[in-house]
Symmetry: C2
Subunit: 555 residues, 2 copies
């Protein structure tokens, strides 16, 4: 009888449980469930209105999803709970909530349930921008070294701005909170009965460093005197490396999940970072692109270097003992969706419907007949700002080269190429700052479904690209974390390296750059860089000025 | 009983005859006819294949159109030929043909009818680019002063490159030609029995200058020794000012047109330039925008100044005794057509069809709800290169400011605004170089039909704009030329100023700039200029490099 592990991927709208076989990585079955409360961005459950830019969740949804999806996935897989040796989970982050001393979310306290700050602030809650701006200004004035590890800017999406916003706007909630905790860590706590906070969550989202710890209390006091001891009062200095065991299922955790008490539970991770082992990646020098509406670039290295414009570098952030780097493009699939939703012409829609193909398939079919350089178009992929390496949300899109003969598929291809150039900027920046990349991998929907795009990326980057075998890499990665938490003695693994070797892997298809295409794309990339620097590094701040005019005019 | 005049507007695809009343300018009736051979850009009538970039016409079509349209228009108007005192015509230019000593087109000679060079080379025949390039290079090397009068470049569309191409590729046709003549002048000759070449055609298209004449024979010899005496051998130095009488209808001219022998015939003009008198414009300091797929800016001044990037300045070119300046934007309505044909989304198409409105009406309705600056978009209107003031066909379109929320109507509005900025650049350049503009007028389809666009132009230029009353200004202008050719003694006018006062005029509606919109557009225009100069004046020649890459890759 085989041994099995369960991985749960907590996404923005739903959670998915996957049952995988230890030793092979075979994915037996999965089950998913939408969060009953979804994303609360207009009202609380009691009808309380939320201001703009808010995005909350309800923590009970996470447990409800566990209770629903794990038994269903086991059932579909035909696997008995007794044969499940470990459980792991990944979560969106920073997705953070205030809890009381028993770990109960404050929003479950009827007296506090009408206060928005008592709920989970989802990663895309953007109402802490004022706090983030103040934090960055003060950190810069003080010359705080941690800024450089995060591309020079702490995002409003991260933990400290969100906690500070709570203090600013709802000091009673801040006071009532025994702790603020990432939702991933909170679910682990709910399963094992005590906290085992993740190095990945703390490192990328809460300015924690394995050797230097958190920012100093002087820094926090400079933000707000009441924050001086925020780490000791509201967070924790007890941070566990990922790919280790957090604890074992308690009786109540077992009742909730339908698993057996004592089942090993792993320290939680972030969806992007946990996707490396499923692609078989555990060594320094490899970069994985997690490609969807946006792209997250995660890479591991044995050196800590300061790379301008990355999102973060965290020791133990991805693989214990190695540096995990994160960078990103804030708009990838979103570009293509925007184009299809906004400018897909009626004639093409008719053709797609007649032939029973999707708009994307039709555009791809037409775009792949073009040669590199044939459209004469060049775009900057900044429809949603630029995350890496410019770290500037106020940049916007640009396209040039249009003529009266320009066709929709040429624009579509130019958007794809622009995102490929954006990825190459990230790769080149890492290498220029001493972080060598000797293997490029991809996972996520686009990587699995769009061979044309992947070939463009290979041609633009001049690198072979390998694609993770799993179509649900985060869930499989979570399951692999569970296998490591169980340990070899219980039929799992003693290290993520062993787990990745047996359970991870890539598809047979390797995207190999074509020398001819690569040569043309080198010319086009040189042009991209000229424009990237002109519009992105202060040569002409027209995009920001237009945004400011827009803001003023719409009032 | 009133007196009447007939004006004929020879366009690219058809000719239109208009009957107008002297004294009022009332347009009684018109009739039009498509050229039977249309534009020949693939084959001759005998099946001979044409190379790319060729565009020919058949001269018999012009006479057939006269014979068809004038009698029909008179009939519809209920006007007797005996009451028609004059006839005028305008033509596309440079639209040029070789003729024998009797004025017979060489293509009517059966022995030459299989030679493409024997036909009319239409204005948009673009196969003389090599000759134009060589001409410009040699003129520049020799420091020829005439270049400055034409924005520094002689177009491949104009007379000398087209004649030179004939010499290069078909010396037997060049030798057989007694003369090369503009089609407008040739039709006049066919009506009156002798040549009366137009100052407008010679000045704007054949490098003729009222005081300096043509370029020197040394210059022509430097092009090709066989061209040394091209002016005396193949053209004419006898050039007549516009707004004068060319002659009178011969018996055969009368038979052809159904008019009375002896009817006054005017020296011919160009459609754009002939449109000023119908708008009531005969004074220095007024600019008329003829707005259609492209826009032509014609203005009159009492001073000859060198304005960089204009298409030409010609004394007697528009109004006798005054300087006529021409400038242009090579893509105006064409931008909007491109957008609707290429990127008009299915959802909008459905809405337009359901509501029974055109795509343009729907886009306008949505676009005019936006405030200036609200879209955050800015475009360079170079989808078809830039005619004035950069004189560069290798420039291409650019747009920036796009976000994931950008809508089709915002793009549409940005394209309209871009063409308005382009017009303002032309106006500002004239004024900066000493040619004051104290009145701005418009005519053409867009000016008549698109009040939203006209308001944007008023707001962007900060000037009141008046619109010509006539919806067929070139044909009315031709008729007015006919009235001046007839003279006051015959019931017409002795000067175009008198004709314009009585027969020309504007609509009641005046577009007045809104101070608030003007202020925002000033900011946006400043941004436009930054980008205009960066991409158009050598700051970054990326558009040209992309075009070169494109050309190379499509082979």
């Amino acid at each position: 009888m085989g041994k099995y592990v369960v991985g749960i991927d907590f996404g923005t709208l739903s959670a998915r449980a996957l049952v995988a076989e230890v030793g092979t990585g075979r994915e037996l079955a999965s089950a998913s469930m939408d969060y009953p409360h979804g994303v609360m961005d207009e009202r609380l459950p009691d009808g309380t209105r939320l201001p703009p830019d808010w995005a909350l969740q309800h923590p009970r949804d996470y447990l409800d999803c566990l209770a629903d999806t794990i038994p269903r996935a086991l059932d579909r897989a035909g696997v008995s709970a007794a044969d499940v040796i470990g459980l792991g989970l990944d979560f969106t982050a920073c997705t953070i909530l205030p809890v009381d001393a028993d770990g109960e979310p404050l929003c479950l306290n009827p007296e506090l349930a009408g206060n928005p700050h008592a709920y989970v602030k989802l990663w895309k809650h953007h109402a802490a921008q004022d706090e983030a701006n103040a934090l960055n200004r003060i950190a810069e004035e003080r010359g705080e070294r941690f800024l450089a590890r995060y591309g020079g800017k702490i995002s409003s999406e991260w933990a400290i701005p969100k906690i500070w916003q709570t203090l600013d706007e709802a000091p009673e909630i801040y006071a009532a909170a025994d702790k603020f905790i990432e939702a991933g860590d909170w679910v682990v706590r709910s399963l094992i009965g005590y906290e085992a906070r993740s190095s990945c969550l703390a490192g990328y989202k809460a300015i924690w460093h394995k050797r230097e710890g958190y920012p100093s209390s002087e820094f926090f006091a400079a933000l707000d005197h009441r924050l001086k001891n925020v780490v000791d009062e509201k967070l924790s200095r007890d941070i566990r490396p990922v790919c280790t065991k957090a604890g074992e299922l308690t009786e109540s955790g077992a009742r909730l999940t339908g698993l057996v008490p004592g089942t090993a539970v792993a320290v939680s991770g972030v969806d992007a970072h946990i996707s490396l082992p499923p692609a078989g990646i555990t060594e320094a020098g490899k970069m994985l692109m997690i490609m969807g509406t946006s792209t997250c670039h995660v890479m591991i290295s044995d050196q800590e270097r300061i790379v301008p414009g990355m999102c973060g570098v965290v020791e133990d952030g991805v693989i214990p003992g190695l540096m995990g780097y994160e960078a990103g493009q804030s708009c990838v699939g979103d570009h293509f969706n925007w184009f299809v939703e906004t400018l897909f012409p009626a004639e093409y829609k008719d053709e797609a419907e007649k032939r029973g193909v999707s708009p994307f398939a039709l555009l791809t079919e037409k775009a792949e007949k073009l040669k590199p350089g044939e459209s004469g178009l060049l775009a900057l992929d900044w429809w949603n700002g630029n995350r890496s390496v410019l770290v500037d949300v106020d940049l916007t899109g640009m396209m040039l080269g249009m003529t009266l003969l320009t066709k929709p598929e040429e624009i579509y291809r130019a958007l794809i190429e622009a995102t490929a150039y954006g990825t190459r900027v990230i790769i080149d920046t890492f290498e220029k700052h001493g972080v060598a990349i000797d293997g490029l991998y991809a996972c996520g929907g686009i990587a699995q479904k769009d061979p044309f795009l992947m070939q463009v990326y290979a041609d633009v980057t001049g690198r072979e690209i390998r694609v993770a075998r799993s179509a649900q890499a985060p869930a499989l990665g979570s399951a692999m974390y569970g296998a490591v938490a169980a340990g070899a003695a219980k039929g799992g693994y003693d290290s993520i390296v062993d787990a990745a070797r047996e359970m991870g892997g890539i598809l047979d298809k390797v995207y190999v750059p074509s020398p001819a295409a690569r040569a043309v794309y080198q010319e086009l990339y040189d042009e991209y860089i000229l424009l990237h620097d002109y519009f992105g590094r202060g040569g002409n701040d027209v995009m920001k000025r237009l945004k400011a005019i827009r803001k003023r005019e719409i009032g």
